[in-house]
Subunit: 332 residues, 2 copies
């Protein structure tokens, strides 16, 4: 696992997560500021340059071949590591991944997938931000990416895949959604459950939900915003009076499982799917536990061959891109 | 107010809401099954035919000129009523409104607006489902619809209007969003706060949030789903054990305000903006209180001249549609 820690809000926490993963038997190679990555007892490459905060990550990645994320991606591209774990900037990881690790054979576009921290079981939403506009063939491929991910990395046996729309009827939604629905209904090797609506993300209707990167990004942030606002309002209620405080204290143990379920750190972060190797982007705010989880998930993805499974499923379904020239590399 | 009650899950509750509104001094004309609307002491028109459950509302509205929603919309179109209140089916209200009340002069497309029940203050989201795909000029007009609505009906003094995107930078988002951002930045008579993200719907950043009907519909349902799931999880915690129960009981009074804030009935339902008259669609599940609120909101919209204000603002900003032939009536 090539682990770039420069984008973490607290790079020392990221290094601590990597140290724990290494202690647990995983093979880790750290990239980051030598002052932070050295001395943790984990192999490391000094890479002080960071592009994680750059407003134009694609340009920054091109201009700074020595940036930690670029060096880590190159290590994966050259076979010195099997997967990329780069925290804090999905844009930088996407750009470095596309330019160095490159798209897998037959893939139109990579997608960013996020296992949403839903109470009960996570729901993998993709794309959450790599492609603002998607053609039907992109959405079809995303369905296979998501299914392979949920089965290989989350251990879901036959993942049910839904297509996000504004109604469950096959004719509902934008043109590309209607066409993707039609194609997915006729394809093999996929448990396609049809269109799903916004409610379904938290209703247990599907294990994987496919959408374009614009809608997915808005959806994800709406979910985060609503959760935060509601939990904040409940916390306020539980601190507003002596009576409320007592109630909050009594309720706390029963709410422990919920807190764990909706903690984003338990899902490892966002996953960049459709490249020749797996890439994971832990959130910048993650602590050691989130980083350790991201590295463990990456290792599981390698062990379970998520890339090979995705390719085999796309090939069996006839969903591989045919003409390599027809679909330029995504602009990030 | 022309009030069509046939689409209500419980039409008697709708009639009771109308009775209370009439008792409060509002002028109400009921449309619905005579067995339900007669004898409430409110003027009524017998209209037993309902198209509220029809899967193809546009076709149903064309085929059933005697349907309650069509009769109510016609009453508004012909000046026998000032606004339409039709519950249960936004599709039927949209179709009946478009065909009978018709688009206001200079309006490209009507939009469906929903004041989201956010703790603190409602945020008006539009479009939540009338138009799957929007051009920049549609989004620009929606901004003015939303601002006029928030000021006239919700009483917000200078409503801050945001454009929903996947990043706050002006260049973020689909092409039509980037172009709408550019135009809105240069327009007058609007407190445009730029792009807003999914988080902002619950963060108090904007009073009005503009988006296309596909993204808006998904967003709305995601919010509802997350709220329901979280509140359900907290309720489970508060009933799972004696300790949890005691905590829940103690906490309940402090949570009362929150329950009220996030109750959709307090916002009256969805609002169809951009027609020659105001139309409101209470949710099918609303009780008497929600219907009374919808009728009161409709009356306020008439009193505060939301239609006239919208036209004046669009005209002053140069945002009226110029060539009537260029933009066919929305397909619903």
């Amino acid at each position: 696992m090539a682990v770039d820690v420069n984008g973490a809000d607290d790079p020392r926490a990221a290094v601590e997560g990597a140290r724990r993963a290494a202690e647990g038997g995983l093979d880790v190679l750290l990239f980051g500021d030598p002052a932070v990555v050295e001395g943790a007892g984990v192999p490391s490459v000094p890479a002080p340059v960071s592009v994680a905060k750059d407003p134009d990550p694609a340009r920054a990645v091109r201009r700074h071949p020595d940036a930690s994320v670029v060096q880590a991606a190159r290590a994966v591209a050259e076979g010195r590591a099997d997967a990329l774990v780069s925290g804090g900037s999905t844009g930088a990881a996407l750009a470095a991944g596309l330019f160095n690790i490159k798209r897998a054979k037959g893939v139109h576009r990579p997608a960013l997938a996020l296992p949403l921290p839903v109470p009960g079981a996570p729901v993998t939403l993709l794309d959450v931000g790599a492609n603002d506009v998607c053609r039907p063939e992109h959405l079809v491929q995303f369905a296979y990416f998501g299914a392979a991910f949920a089965s290989a990395i989350l251990g879901v046996e036959r993942p049910r895949v839904g297509l996000l729309s504004n109604g469950t009827e096959p004719g509902k939604g934008r043109d590309e959604v209607v066409e993707a629905h039609k194609r997915l209904s006729e394809m093999s090797g996929l448990e396609f459950v049809g269109n799903v609506e916004g409610f379904d993300l938290t209703a247990g209707t599907a294990d994987v939900v496919v959408t374009d990167g614009f809608t997915g990004n808005v959806t994800l942030k709406v979910m985060e915003g609503v959760s935060k606002r509601l939990i904040g309002a409940i916390r306020d209620a539980a601190t507003s009076s002596a009576r409320g405080k007592a109630g909050g204290l009594l309720l706390r143990p029963a709410l422990g499982g919920l807190r764990e379920d909706i903690d984003p750190e338990s899902q490892g972060g966002a996953y960049l799917l459709g490249l020749r190797r797996l890439a994971i982007v832990p959130h910048g705010s993650f602590g050691a536990r989130g980083w350790e989880q991201a590295i463990a998930r990456a290792a599981r993805g390698v062990r379970e061959d998520v890339i090979g499974r995705t390719y085999a499923a796309l090939e069996a379904a006839g969903a591989l891109r045919r003409s390599p020239a027809s679909d330029p590399v995504t602009s990030v």
